[in-house]
Amino acid sequence: MATLLLQQAINALTVGAIYALIALGYTMVYGVLRLINFAHSEMFTAGAFVAVFAASLLGGVAGHPGVALAAGFATFLAIGFLGVAVETVAYRPLRGTSRLAPMLSALGMAVVIQNVVMLVGGRRPLIYPSFLPRGVFQIAGAVVTYKQITILAVALVLMVGLELLVSRTSLGVKIRAVAESAETASLVGINPNLPIALIFFVGPGLGAVAGILYASYYGVATFSMGFIIGMKAFTAAILGGIGSIPGAVLGGLLLGFIETFATAWMPALTHGLIGTEYRDIFAFSVLVIILLFRPAGLLGEHVSEETMVYKRDF
């Protein structure tokens, strides 16, 4: 029993870490521009495909950690630049119009990127070469793969790095200043386009890394895999309190745990009444319940009605 729990916890942690990495991209963009970046999920997919391409240029990833690392890094850069390009083309011209316009423009970009991936990368499920080391070891009877360990380590390093960047450096201060008011930030000498570009570089970059990890973990990538996982990662971001980086991490991990444990135990608890086919709604149900008690998510800042003038949402 304990072994089983431990095993499931390890699985949950792995899935959760991937969700968290993607959620970071949503939450960062949202924090600065209050934009639901629907195209982010496709950055995740594009990342997985681009990495394979990059690796093949480098001679394939089989058994060579250096190639995997280099390809991963190249993908991070490539998708980062893609993110910046998308921002420049599709979102920046819409800044200061309505809030829904950039959101739907993002939706359009999601369709575009997904179809480009489909046309270039092919419709066949891509049998994914593993970028991660193989092998397993056991902890207290639970099987842990090196893949899982690597995913956790990569996610942890990236998340801690990001948090330090945002909370400890003067660049981070600028990002947060722009997040609060781009206009005021520009008055004190901050070029608001730079932090925004940075956000649109780092967010998609992290999403791409998550794409590589995810595809390596499951061994397959399809051009349409982004949509549903993007939706879940966005849910995770909301769950943690959108705009908050620790919130995204917490939300992602929580979602991983909810899904894993609910699908594992729900059928037994309900005598098969609620089976694993309900997996997708466990997350949403928990989300609804949590938001009812904490309307701004777990770590979201509660905004008092009087200190912040909440004019038109959309």
């Binding site: 899935v15 499920p125 061994g219 397959v220 699908t263 086919e277 997996r279």
Partner: protein, 369 residues
């Protein structure tokens, strides 16, 4: 301003209706841009191959055949729109549509209204329930597809306990239910019958339960890439039960996706003999690869055969080739296709549905019976 809009919309709509006219047009509709688009495109490539060959051989009654692909996005609403569009196109004399049962059911209604000969690839038993005389299904429906593996498991393998998993989609759940019925009727025990979310990639929770049930066989009603992942994870969990899958797993992608060592021994049902089992199929695979620069997809041979059904029907329709004359001609189909013998019952189903079971051996599919 609004009158302008109205007029331009009018012009647009009228414009839409006057589609390209050609000698004889054969239409097709299936998923081309959504997550199932792999199946849709490779399926249609098969048809295109048959039509090209027919044209090279001089066409039908001296007329060239033109092939028109349409994307229904796997969406019933779009399916009916496409059906209507094809009906309105008077030079379109037959369609091969649709791929998804959920689309075929509403669209067959539209095709029926305009008397369009419709050859479908969707395998749900319900498709032919409406009893439309213009609808034909030259493939085994889910009843045979689910039954054959169940019988094999019971009789040949002597299995007693089966765990059944499906992906909560019309196709996957359909075949899984048939498997369940047949297996139970044959005296077997079904230890669990579970659905997974269609987009699932992580089956660890379910596999934990299945492992405890210790079944002799596992039937997975679903499509790639889910089935590949399922088999892979099952083996990683140390589950050694024989795994059965449906036709969509009949692709090298399945073996690659699961990993050859994991896929070894898995049994897959398919409505056609193997590509290397007959010279015709070998030839087909070669021609296909030459034409489309890729290996045929799981349904390419069906597409090829279904187009043949239509073309043969047209040839047999007599002097005036119209929708009305093609329908009875197709109903009288009686020929050997690359995948098996085609002849129809009055309800449009095959007289003798052909189904083959394959097993994975040394990383390749091998015919079981």
């Amino acid at each position: 301003m609004r009158t302008v809009t109205l007029i331009s919309t009018a012009a647009l709509l009228v414009g839409l209706s006057s589609a390209a006219r050609a000698d004889i047009v054969i239409g097709s509709a299936g998923p081309l841009t959504n997550s199932e688009s792999l199946f849709g495109t490779t399926w249609m490539n098969g048809m295109e191959l048959a039509i090209r060959q027919a044209n090279d051989a001089g066409g039908v009654g001296g007329q060239k055949l033109v092939f028109q692909r349409e994307d229904d996005g796997g969406d019933p609403k779009q399916g009916t729109l496409v059906a209507q569009k094809q009906c309105d196109n008077t030079s379109m004399l037959a369609v091969i549509a649709n791929f998804n049962s959920g689309v075929t059911i509403p669209s067959s209604d539209v095709y029926h209204r305009c008397g369009m000969p419709q050859v479908t690839n969707s395998s749900n038993p319900k498709v032919t329930k409406a009893g439309y005389p213009n609808l034909f299904r030259p493939i085994a429906n889910d009843l045979s597809q689910g039954a054959a593996p169940a019988e094999y498991a019971l009789k040949t393998l002597g299995a007693k306990k089966a765990a059944i998993v499906h992906d909560k989609q019309a196709f996957g759940q359909g075949v899984a239910e048939v498997f369940q019925d047949v297996f139970k009727k044959g005296g077997g025990t079904v230890t669990s019958f579970s659905g997974v979310a269609q987009t699932d990639v992580d089956f660890s929770a379910l596999l934990t339960t299945i492992k405890n049930e210790n079944p002799d066989v596992i039937y997975f009603g679903g499509i790639m890439p889910a089935i590949g992942l399922f088999v892979k994870q099952a083996r990683e969990f140390g589950i050694t039960a024989k795994v059965f899958g449906a036709d969509s797993a009949f692709t090298p992608d399945f073996i690659q996706g699961a990993g050859p060592e994991n896929a070894e021994g898995a049994i897959v049902s398919f409505q056609a003999p193997p590509y290397d089992s007959s010279p015709q199929l070998q030839e087909f695979a070669k021609t296909y690869k030459a034409a489309f620069k890729e290996d045929p997809g799981p349904y390419s041979a069906y597409g090829y055969m279904e187009a043949q059904v239509v073309i043969n029907g047209m040839k047999a329709a007599g002097a005036s080739i119209t929708r009305a004359t093609i329908v009875p001609a197709i109903a009288k189909s009686d020929f050997d296709s690359i995948v098996g013998h085609v002849s129809f019952q009055p309800n449009g189903e095959l007289t003798k549905p052909f189904i083959f079971l394959y097993t994975v051996k040394n990383g390749k599919f091998e015919l079981l019976k």
